[in-house]
Assembly symmetry: D2
Homo-oligomer: 354 residues x 4
């Protein structure tokens, strides 16, 4: 940490900064410059509260040299984290799927679980095309209290049914600590949605649930904040965190969000955690999902999460951004080749009955 | 709602849109234009899911003519909502304070409750200067799991103690449904923080808690989304919602946030709910708090929320944006005159012992 | 400047950084830290190109401790710049107006010059209400090539006519170097618009034109970039630069722009140049102009720039954000009181015939 | 265009809107709705000024149904524009290159022209790897007046020299109308930089220069604004416009810009003009350029523009985002395969001496 003094800061002001740093238990190293003095804080263990220093007289700004996160960083763990997904019953069809290694995984399915027929059909269709994980919301966070909010616990049962039928792994969202308990009973991956990325009560519950977590980037979250939210989960003892880029807020109303694919190589450099991309929410428009899913894999994503609905025109939510099943199949064919260009391969579902 | 067809959309595509609208229970009114046809959806009750229409063949875009919120809108209720704050014990010092009428209220105090001495001293100091409500967090949402997270329930007891000593009303934050129950026992206003603006489980709990709610605007929330989150609270039966502008995410690192004061007249036009402004979080810098608090009142805010600490240099959180008590007193003097310019007056604390 | 090395950077990499700094003519000061080494660059004269250092092996990031601008900074000149506006003919009605001292100036008038009657009437109306400078565009930068682009040179003649009739000073925009020559013949202040804030050919021409410059902040410009653009003008020898906040790009379509009033105290701290605010473009909505103009003065703006049209419903451009003359008169009454609260006073036009 | 009236707008207010629309020469079609009335404006030829209607009493908002641009739209011209690049001397090495057809072109070279040796070496290196067009700035728009501003006209001569040596086509930037004249003498493509995207004097000069134009998206430009700026060029008679996504302003300081690759399929849908992507400026970081260049091609870009320097550590500008020549060669190998996945192929330079 570097405390930059104002041009013309007095010696007394500099000494006060030095004294406060020492009082906080660190070493202070003043560095006079041509235009102003800076004071280095040495020994930063990631717990220094800059706020106290920022407010001192004569201080112009405090510059963070160390990253504020710890366990999620590449410096803490150089090797990439490979999340191993255990199929239900310990040894099911999805038992061999990994996220963060050489495989690129496809997570696909409808926005929300609507009926047994819908979710089972969707599961079979996306499996056929090459997905290994089924997505589908039992609880849906919606901006309006009057929009469809999901089936709730009955939706979880339908997901379990779809897993039995298809052999796919299940990824579904929990919206509060109570929901984490319910979701954990059924899901192979517990999703934390973008709106809840800084819901710390929920993050702590996720950290203690014993299942891998899919943590979506908040609409206005920096990569640093995304990693700090993941740090909450690791700090509770859960190492199996998969990050997800799903679009950030931008100024252009042409697309729902700005799909920030550069976050993928950025995260890979700063952290050992895997990161996937969700072009359905990232763009909000069906005909943009296919090119941007390809782009995500070309950028190095560890997986893609795509909304696919057996009949998008009848969907209860997000119909306009859901792919038709045959569009998804075409996408998977393209994505397989692109993965190979960069030395990876798309994870394939186990043969039915395996 | 207006469904705009693409240039060159076929008659069959237009008829499909008309049919779907009718199937959804509304009237459809096609309007051929010079360049393209649009189809008006008449009878929108605020529950139409545009997504189903957006995905139909030949549709270029769906334009929302009606607002997606209902009970929070000026059209639902023309008269401004005046939130009446009942002092503890029914008739205490704060019993007469209102938010949203002609009065402008000052909410002030430290970022977080640190000790009895700190919070009681702060309460007395801000009361002396003219605040009628004490702020102070018992639970603090922090980006890093390693930062000070607040005293928790013991902090609530200290707030109760400060109220007894000062006669001020109490405003403090709840971070989950369990927290709402605890906070409700002590606080006169339950705060929902910016990071939780779209934590719907929390909003629903707030809607059922029986106390006025202070709902802070999320970092990347549009005014429409802020109003929709308020709608969640009203939909549960709680009409006493005070909104709060506290800065939105921007691209310039010079200030922590962009303090969007225009949101104040915008909310006043769209909604009957009161809105206050928090220049401490809005700017993140002590020397910007005073001019921007004045600006907030000049823009028509129903109140200001300001961080004041007896000794900012020793604060456990947000020290750099906390005012010294004498700065706050000076601010209150300026704000009183500005309020009068626009036909309002600053609410004054009841005489001690009243 | 501080060059932060990656955790685990080798000694050779650190020495290479030291060597390059020396080769560039500065001193290098390595500082080993708990987690990584940083190398201070001492002697930075504002001309160091960080890019060369950023690309070296082992470098994590380069942190700018010194500001990149020079002559516009408070450190270069502590006293605020007071721009003295000389009336045409040396001693006209506006001869005594200053921007950046204790006075708060009002610049008002229509978006564009449309006819002699329109501009002369507008001049008389805004003068009556208390403006000292008339605004009005002869050239209008418009997003669409098919929108009204202004009257051009004939518009300048009409502005000259309005000055004769009203005694007001004239502020009008130039869009290229040739336009600067024409505008300089007539205007008392040459305006550079937001879209041209980084049009460096234009900035250099403005720096050599011999008239005060009003430099508007670009839609996505940081305060640092605004100050760097002003530096281009000062570097050509023109000290009389007035900055203008006029709204930045944001994510909420409710208002045209985000009116970033915090930029006012921020600029006042970093620079000696005066800064005014334009709530008409800042909000884009007539009924938001009045509260936000009040807020700008409360935040410490050295002036306000407001669109006023004799008949807004007939305006050829920006009608929806132009005030009616009587609204402007009411605004000026409110603004006079607010200016006094913070120890300033609104500049009044000289008596007619003075 | 749809004029939405406020809830409770009077019949007189609605009739006034109808009257103004007719006075403007269009048809008005009132549509009473459940909550409010809307008035359709029929016959919009793209020249309607909404501002006049927005300001009328009782009007809530004006919704644009038609696109504001014309000649650049898909509706004006369904077939994609294929820009044919004529080599200097009519028949040189680049004579057969096209942008916007099935070929994907690579434009590569240093940020700025520094010396004959540097630019000729760079040209040979990027040609070897597979680029068909050489980039390199003779004039450089720099935020600071103290940064290297380019060699100016002597730089153009060096570019001509590099073309002779390598057979590559030349793309270089012009910063004002005078610069357009000079650049046109040498360049095969005249570049308009991001900061000048709304410099209308420059756009008009570009529209009359007789050479293909590369128009970069401004930092805070919406896609609509980018297309409107292109419309300025087409309106002057120049159809050969290539758009370029190069990153937009975002809130996360981790990368210089947000590289908005979704703009590629968005532009392809709205317009017939080709669009390429510049990952060097889009990300600002060398190790992000390669994955994001791959992603751009996977997303459907008609080309990529990449900064490559023979010795990035010695570059006078943008060294940290310039690729080493062997990195660029590796990138080209990967990009060739990805292009084929989506039915395209990378344009190859003509054999030397052809």
């Amino acid at each position: 940490m570097l405390i930059v003094m104002r041009h013309g800061a007095t010696e007394a002001e500099i000494q006060k900064v030095v004294a406060v740093i020492k009082e906080m238990g660190y070493q202070a190293r003043p560095m006079p410059g041509a235009q102003r003095t800076a004071v280095g804080l040495v020994g930063n263990d990631g717990r220094v509260d800059a706020s106290r220093l920022e407010g001192l007289a004569g201080v112009q700004e405090v510059i963070h040299v160390s990253k504020p996160y710890k366990q999620v960083s590449r410096e803490w763990k150089v090797e990439p984290t490979v999340v191993r997904l255990a199929g239900a019953g310990g040894g099911g069809g999805g038992g061999g799927v990994t996220v963060g290694g050489t495989e690129v995984v496809a997570i696909a399915g409808p926005c929300s679980v609507e009926s047994e027929k819908q979710i089972v059909t969707a599961a079979q269709q996306v499996r056929e095309a090459g997905a290994v994980i089924l997505r589908g919301g039992a609880w849906k966070p919606r901006s309006s209290p009057y929009s469809f909010q999901g089936l709730g616990r009955p939706g979880l049962k339908l997901l379990a049914r779809a897993r039995e039928e298809s052999g796919l792994l299940i990824c579904t969202e929990a919206m509060d600590a109570e929901g984490v308990r319910w979701v954990t009973e059924v899901a192979d991956i517990v999703q934390i949605g973008a709106r809840n990325m800084q819901n710390y009560s929920l993050l702590k519950a996720a950290g203690r649930c014993g299942k891998p977590i899919l943590l979506k980037r908040g609409l206005s979250a920096t990569v640093t904040e995304l990693l700090l939210s993941a740090e909450y989960i690791l700090a509770e003892g859960n190492q199996d965190v998969i990050l997800c880029e799903r679009g950030i807020r931008g100024f252009d109303p042409t697309t729902r969000n700005v799909f920030d694919l550069t976050a993928i190589p950025v995260v890979h450099k700063l952290s050992h955690l895997p990161i996937i991309a969700d072009p359905s929410h990232g763009t909000g428009l069906r005909d943009k999902v296919i090119p941007m899913a390809r782009a995500a894999v070309a950028a190095g994503a560890d997986g893609i999460m795509v909304e696919v609905h057996p009949d998008p025109e009848q969907a209860l939510s997000d119909g306009a951004q859901s792919l038709f099943p045959d569009q998804f199949a075409q996408l998977m064919r393209e994505v397989r080749v692109i993965a190979e260009v960069i030395g990876r391969r798309v994870a394939e579902p186990a043969p039915v009955g395996a």
